[in-house]
Amino acid sequence: MAKHATPKLDQLESGPWPSFVSDIKWEAENRAKNADKVNYQIPVDCPADLLGVLELSYNDGETHWKHGGIVGVFGYGGGVIGRYCDQPQAFPGVAHFHTVRVNQPAAKYYSSEFLRQICDLWDMRGSGLTNMHGSTGDIVLLGTQTAQLEEIFFELTHKYNTDLGGSGSNLRTPESCLGTSRCEYACYDTQDVCYQLTLDYQDELHRPAFPYKFKFKFDGCPNGCVAAIARSDFSVIGTWKDDIKIDQAAVKGYVGGEFAPNAGAHSGRDWGKFDIQAEVVDLCPTKCMKWDGSKLSINNRECTRCMHCINTMPRALHIGDERGASILVGAKAPVLDGAQMGSLLVPFIEVNQPYDEIKEVIEKIWDWWMEDGKNRERLGETIRRLSFQRLLEVTEIAPQAVHVKEPRHNPYIFWKEEEVPGGFDRDIEAYRTRHQR
């Protein structure tokens, strides 16, 4: 018998997609039964109370979670999000319901052993409910009480050799695509840079010293599977400089129908016979390809590495060998001054251990942003307020035509004094000798 009647939520148990309501109910039952004799450290019925308070929101269309609350572990300024229910008398199991962010392993590979350890910890010291994963990439442990926070942290660090993620005005938990571990498009080892920089910047991750949040994301190629370009202040996106490698025999395999185009991604509809001219050559955004009926050629100097031809014929075309990444900066969601995507800052950088060249760019940006950024101003907003030119100056990167889609639309150039012969200090008296008032 459920603790709270949830007639509205119950309607989310039908249908084919996994039902979070069924899952929470299952967890509530398992905790009530407690077959493994777990010594629960927070109320056993918190999943049931979570359903209860959620049902209330489904009835009145409003959230019942209060504003944050400063809770955390000693010495860290992030990693725990305080959360309190605004109806604690009705739902005591979730009266305090803090979130713990645990830094996920890069690209979210797990052993069952490690996952079970996290589950055991969260079963005993938390609600038994999680998000796999939060939007930024953390393992999100959803709901515990203040007294458990140090205990959870102690167990994570001592028993499971793992640490909390970021929150607040910190470096947020970095995230990467799976990179070279299982993808032929990856231009660098995204997981390794992600891991190494996470370790190198532990202080920035745990102790808020920034104007606002700062996110790194690492995409292995321009397909962008972790959406770095849309949501990270500092996006490292794989690319290459030399020629796309062509296997002409495999190209013929696609043309002849031996291989399914686009790795079989369009198998659910009859799109007709594969037409390399229409589907690859004509869709190339720079029109740098030619198919003469037996040979595919690419004018690589004109290629902008959009990935379409490679995605369409992955057996025949492969990324070049002179690999590295482009760095784009300043992406953010709309709050406050509108959404921004990353803008190209470093067209090409080699990505080699120990990643000092990348770190140099990061640290120059941080020095500037920590000095000149306003409270709660994302890097992208600082750049807009103080100019892209300023960003180039502080990062000591020479302006190049690739930095813009097109040159400026107005002549209101902020000339620097040293760029103008004679400077800005002029003699009005001398001027008047040439021009009467």
Binding site: L50, Y58, T63, A107, M132, N161, I229, A339
Partner: protein, 381 residues
């Protein structure tokens, strides 16, 4: 429920304290066939919706079965995933950015058994625990946020509308019938913890009423200057008010300047903004993050408001499904939703979908608005 110590000593918090160790290293969790072939992959194929095969230079083939999840999951469900990983995948698994779980094996027979096993696993009320799909030119899992489950600023729930929408488009989670991948995302407010602003279809919770002001508490709960400076449109200012016969340092809000972003509430709990009647969901379409063919694009608002119709958001799900179907019927192969809308023109997008164009859809926020108006005589009747 006796307190059980982890070993932490609250009197000596620094004793044996371990900090700043970071996450576990990724390569501890590679299945052997991933460790062996890392950096040496030749190509991949999607054998059927949800099943990938990666082929390495060594000749090894790795099969991946991708399954949708609700993202919000219990330790009971994670343990079940671990059981599956132990039985079929040498004890390893991974999750994707879009909250799918992936089971991998290098054995074709194991793949068959794994698929059959996954298909039979259901929650007690009948929904699938591990629906296989989410690949290629189909609809994959919806990136989403916390909503009413755990957030203090949402204008809608997240898990509920996601469940309702995924039920509606479920056939396309398990098919490759779309012209190109179609990515749906949901953010329960405009803070957008998910990357909704660059999705083929983005669902965004919006507030539509200015915050209320808790005069008695404003000065006690908030740093009023922070609330003032949090407002992007200068609608918030400090003021003194008489309230119930007492003078309070408080806040005044110019309603006509408020764009309901809730940023002031983030800074000041005495300015609650959520409202059961006012809140709901906007639909944005045509964004993408991939650089394929065209550059990444922002999503554009095409439906200004849909009410929160709990528990299954029927108007929202119907509208999403309709947009999906019109796109599927009209776009060219490889064309993302935004590329299609740009090719045919947004006026044609509205005529084909039958969505009503209203004044809400004309941008009036800051300077970029001008660049979205039409500086041309080129348009379609």
């Amino acid at each position: 429920m006796a307190f059980v110590s982890s070993g932490y000593n609250p009197d000596k918090p620094m004793e044996n304290r371990i900090t700043d160790i970071g996450p576990r290293k990724y390569d501890q969790f590679y299945p052997p066939f991933i460790a062996k072939n890392k950096g040496k992959w030749l190509y991949h194929e999607i054998l059927e919706p949800g099943v990938l095969m990666h082929v390495a230079e060594s000749g090894d083939k790795v099969y991946t079965v991708r399954c949708g999840t609700a993202r919000l999951m219990s330790v009971s469900l994670i343990r079940e995933m671990c059981d599956i990983a132990d039985k079929y995948c040498q004890g390893f698994l991974r999750f994707t950015t879009r909250s799918n779980v992936e089971f991998m094996t290098d054995n074709a027979d194991t793949l068959k058994a794994l698929k059959a096993d996954l298909a039979g696993r259901k929650f007690s009320a009948g929904s699938n625990k591990f629906p296989v799909g989410g690949t290629g030119a189909g609809i994959t899992n919806i990136i989403h946020t916390q909503g009413w489950v755990h957030c203090h600023t949402p204008a809608t729930d997240a898990s509920g509308p996601v469940k309702a929408v995924m039920d509606e488009v479920f056939a396309d989670f398990q098919a490759h019938r779309m012209p190109a991948p179609l990515r749906i995302s949901l953010a329960c407010c405009i803070n957008m913890c998910g990357a909704v602003h660059c999705s083929d279809i983005g669902l965004v919770g919006i507030h539509r009423k200015p915050p209320m002001i808790d005069h008695e508490w404003a000065d006690r709960l908030c740093e009023i200057p922070l609330a003032v400076s949090a407002c992007p449109t200068a609608a918030v200012r400090p003021t003194k008010v008489d309230y119930k016969g007492e003078k309070h340092n408080s806040i005044a809000i110019k309603n006509e300047r408020c764009m309901y972003c809730g940023n002031c509430y983030t800074m000041c709990p005495a300015l609650p903004i959520s409202d059961g009647e006012g809140d709901g969901v906007a639909i944005m379409v045509g964004g993408k993050v991939s650089n394929r063919i065209s550059m990444p694009k922002f999503s554009k608002v095409v439906v200004a408001y849909i009410p929160n119709e709990t528990p299954r958001w029927p108007t929202l799900t119907k509208t999403v499904k309709h947009i999906v179907e019109v796109y599927a019927a009209n776009a060219n192969k490889y064309e993302r939703l935004g590329e299609w809308a740009e090719r045919i023109g947004w006026e044609r997008f509205f005529s084909l979908t039958g969505l009503t164009f209203t004044h809400h859809l004309i941008d009036d926020f800051r300077e970029p608005a001008y660049y979205t108006w039409r500086q041309s005589t080129q348009f379609k009747f």
